[in-house]
């Protein structure tokens, strides 16, 4: 997996963000176009490409959902622009309930507390999924990887809820 390779980091879902961050800055110091500003345009172009790749790798590795998605795609499971829908009624039911709870925040007596509660329950859900994901993300069995892909699909729902919570929060406290 070339992103891990670029950072000379072992392939694993668990990563030390501080270490990745430190390596990112070390790498920036040698590839950034500013380091080649007095060299040929060919060298500059190469630097722009390398830095764009580095920025992309960093963006992907530091974000757990993007990291999981990337690791799956490197193992042949592409989730990026797929049309597949989730077939898990239990999960979808839970999502609907969460959405209702989200809509009720604005009208609640204590919106601050409601937001905190909602945020906590999303985090719990998210961490639970990540725990399920870790042992199977690098499995050699196709079925396990498919199961991992399903978890990532669910995580995308959860992250979307998180974004919507932020929107509700903004709308509530904007002047």
């Amino acid at each position: 997996m070339k992103y891990f390779e670029l950072f000379s980091y072992p392939i694993s879902f668990d990563i030390d963000l501080n270490a990745i961050n430190a390596r990112y800055l070390e790498l920036q110091k040698v590839v950034h176009p500013d380091k080649f500003a007095h060299e040929s345009s060919q060298q500059q172009l190469l630097a722009v490409q390398k830095t764009a790749e580095l920025n992309d790798a960093f963006e992907t590795l530091k974000h757990p959902l993007k990291r999981a998605e990337y690791m799956l795609s490197e193992q042949g499971i592409e989730l990026k622009s797929e049309q597949q829908t989730l077939q898990d009624p239990m999960f979808l039911m839970q999502q609907m309930e969460l959405r209702e709870a989200l809509e009720e925040i604005t009208a609640s007596d204590d919106p601050d507390a409601a937001i905190d509660d909602f945020d906590a329950s999303i985090k719990l859900l998210r961490n639970d999924f990540f725990d399920q994901l870790k042992p199977i993300l690098l499995s050699t069995e196709k079925a396990q990887l498919e199961a991992a892909a399903d978890i990532v699909r669910k995580l995308k729902f959860v992250y979307k809820l998180q974004q919507e919570l932020e929107r509700v929060e903004d709308a509530l406290f904007d002047d």
Partner: protein, 618 residues
């Protein structure tokens, strides 16, 4: 006997190798140029000893005048004197039509232009006149030596079209642009805030006619613009207006004629400046028949000015909110712009952030100085410098999708350079073309966003709806400039289009403008292009020799021999070539011969950068 060369650490043993690099603050009201000499950054002055060049360009009958005389002559020749032309960079006719200005705006080849007695002039051309003047000032003060490169500053909120316009203007002025740098970042660099510190910095920029506030985050040498705000119609002139009003009342001249008004304005400005060091100022107004002496106290002025300062602080509060930053998280406040000399401004800003603002560098010069420091590093004069400015995209980039909605491809605050691709598909059976509309901004509707470019991808093979896959790639370089390519990939048929922003110039337009400006300057276009190629050739030879010395071991001996031979050819041709084309093809040949070496070097330095870390830390 060989003599040993002795050099101070960090200084070159061969001083003649010091390259000339400049930083330019291309401002709305005033522009400046600075450089680093013997390790010290300083602004450069013109023949009269003036640092500031007013951003005013007057198109006379057979002449173009830039700076002080253009500015002071403006009231007499308003239609032909372009003032604050930066406001129009990257704008279209519809953006300026509603403004009450003495200019006649026209559209010329899709470009906004202003009709002058020398014909239509676009904002890029006028800006390039200002840059040329500053470039010439630098060349003169360097004793005629050529400038290797320039860093030019732009406001942090400038969109792609405005940045592209700035870069086009610099190229038109014959400057090698090392980097476009955000103004607030430049100010922070001037104060050396890039080294060591971590945290949030506020840059408060109150100029003659505009106010900008920027909130930056500094993290291990990475500068990130978190939020910008301000008021494009609030500046030092508004403070002068308060005093003009006072003069009118005291003299009972409520509607003064043009001459009297000009006198009032001059005196108001002088009075405001005097009040920075005196408690009271006596203003003498000599109106011929009538003479007045008006006493203005500091207290009176500050009371009047308070509401204007409060207005800027409201913008600060908004910017902090946008950045999701609390006031007490701000570790430094940098003051920029001449109007921050007013004690009341310093005092209130200090109170607001509960922090003494940084004012030790001349607020008119601080941006140019920061730009000069970065230019000096970029040109290679400080090989040991650790400074690295990582910039972010100021505004999201996206594409129009169905229903006039914007699909964001690269969100704002993404670290640049960056490349992102997104796939789209056809929505009709047999569709053979797809039109793409590139927009910039944070809004969800196309109508609320800045339109950057429209183009269409033709020649898609007829397929069922949804069968064609069109991959659109956005690339943003380190200056924040965008290029977009699109291709259909499912059948292997490729069509690719390079986009130029609607308000930028095509290469042909640049060449055309260059040609027409040459006619004026009686400079030979061929000669200029040849000179540019010679400079480029020298840069390539020097850079290649340096990397061969450092990383020659990455090459097999026959590979090395090939590169050496191309270097020799280019070196000879640099002296003997009579046409730019000759050098151009030699440069291409050397690029080809050394491209493998370039990527091996890059891979090698990536490996070295992380050596030791992988074993110890994991």
């Amino acid at each position: 006997m060989a003599l040993l060369q002795i050099a101070e650490p960090g200084q070159s043993a061969a001083p003649h190798e010091h390259k000339l690099a400049i930083g330019i603050d291309l401002g709305t009201t005033n522009s400046l140029v600075a450089t680093v000499q013997s390790g010290q950054p300083k602004t450069l002055v013109d023949k009269e000893g003036q640092t500031i060049l007013p951003s005013a360009v007057c198109y006379e009958e057979n002449n173009i005048v830039v700076g002080h005389s253009a500015k002071s002559n403006a009231p007499l020749d308003a239609a032909n004197t372009l003032i604050s032309v930066k406001r129009f960079l990257g704008k279209g006719l519809s953006d300026v039509a509603h403004l009450d200005l003495p200019y006649q705006f026209v559209e010329q080849q899709g470009q906004l232009a202003i009709t002058t007695r020398q014909g239509p002039i676009n904002p890029i051309q006028a800006s390039s006149e200002i840059l040329s003047t500053l470039k010439q000032r630098a060349i003169d003060s360097f004793g005629g030596e050529e400038i290797t490169g320039a860093v030019i500053t732009v406001p942090a909120y400038f969109d792609d079209a405005q940045r592209q316009g700035t870069k086009d203007a610099a190229e038109l002025a014959g400057l090698n642009v090392l980097r476009l740098l955000n103004e607030p970042t430049a100010a922070a660099v001037a104060y050396g805030l890039d080294s060591g510190q971590e945290g949030v910095i506020a840059v408060y920029d109150l100029g003659g006619g505009t106010f900008d506030i920027s909130i930056l985050r500094l993290n291990k040498g990475v500068f990130e613009v978190l939020a910008t705000g301000g008021d494009s119609a609030l500046g030092g002139d508004d403070f002068d207006a308060l005093l003009v009003e006072h003069f009118k009342q005291q003299t009972s001249i409520t509607s003064p004629d043009a001459d009297t008004l000009r006198l009032f304005m001059e005196k108001a400005r002088a009075c405001k400046e005097a009040l920075t060091s005196y408690k009271t100022v006596n203003v003498g107004l000599d109106l011929g028949e009538q003479q007045f002496t008006i006493e203005v106290s500091k207290e009176f002025f500050e009371q009047a000015a308070e509401s204007l300062v409060k207005k800027t602080l409201r913008a600060c509060r908004r910017a902090l909110k946008d950045a999701e930053i609390d006031k007490d998280q701000v570790i430094e406040v940098v003051m920029v712009g001449g109007s921050t000399r007013m004690p009341i401004v310093r005092e209130k800003v200090g109170e607001f952030f509960a922090k003494e603002p940084l004012t030790s560098i001349d607020p008119d010069q601080v941006v140019a100085i920061g730009a000069a420091i970065q230019a000096d590093i970029l040109v290679g004069n400080k090989p040991d410098s650790e400074m690295l400015l990582l910039d972010v995209l100021p505004l999201s980039l996206g594409l129009e999708t169905m229903g006039g909605l914007v699909e964001k491809i690269i969100p704002r605050n993404t670290t640049i350079p960056v490349a992102r691709a997104q796939e789209f598909t056809t929505f009709k059976d047999g569709q053979t073309a797809m039109s793409l509309h590139v927009v910039q901004g944070e809004r969800e509707l196309v109508d609320d966003s800045r339109s950057l470019a429209k183009f269409s991808l033709k020649g898609i093979p007829a397929m069922a709806a949804g069968a064609a896959h069109i991959r659109v790639t956005f690339k943003v370089d380190a200056d924040g400039l965008l290029s977009v390519t699109a291709m259909e990939k499912s059948t292997g048929v490729q069509a690719e289009i390079q986009v130029k922003p609607s308000f930028g110039l095509s290469d042909d337009q640049v060449a055309q403008m260059l040609k027409s400006s040459m006619v004026n300057a009686k400079e030979d276009m061929q000669a200029r292009m040849l000179k540019e190629q010679q400079v480029e050739a020298l840069r390539v030879i020097e850079a290649l020799n340096a990397s061969l010395e450092q990383s020659g071991h990455l090459l097999l001996s026959e590979e090395r021999a090939e590169i050496d031979s191309e270097i020799n050819k280019l070196a000879v041709l640099r002296e003997t070539a009579t046409a730019p084309e000759q050098l151009k093809s030699a440069l291409e040949a050397i690029d080809k011969a050394s491209s493998e070496f370039a990527s091996r070097r890059m891979d090698e330095s990536i490996k070295q950068a992380l050596q030791g870390q992988s074993v110890d830390e994991v």
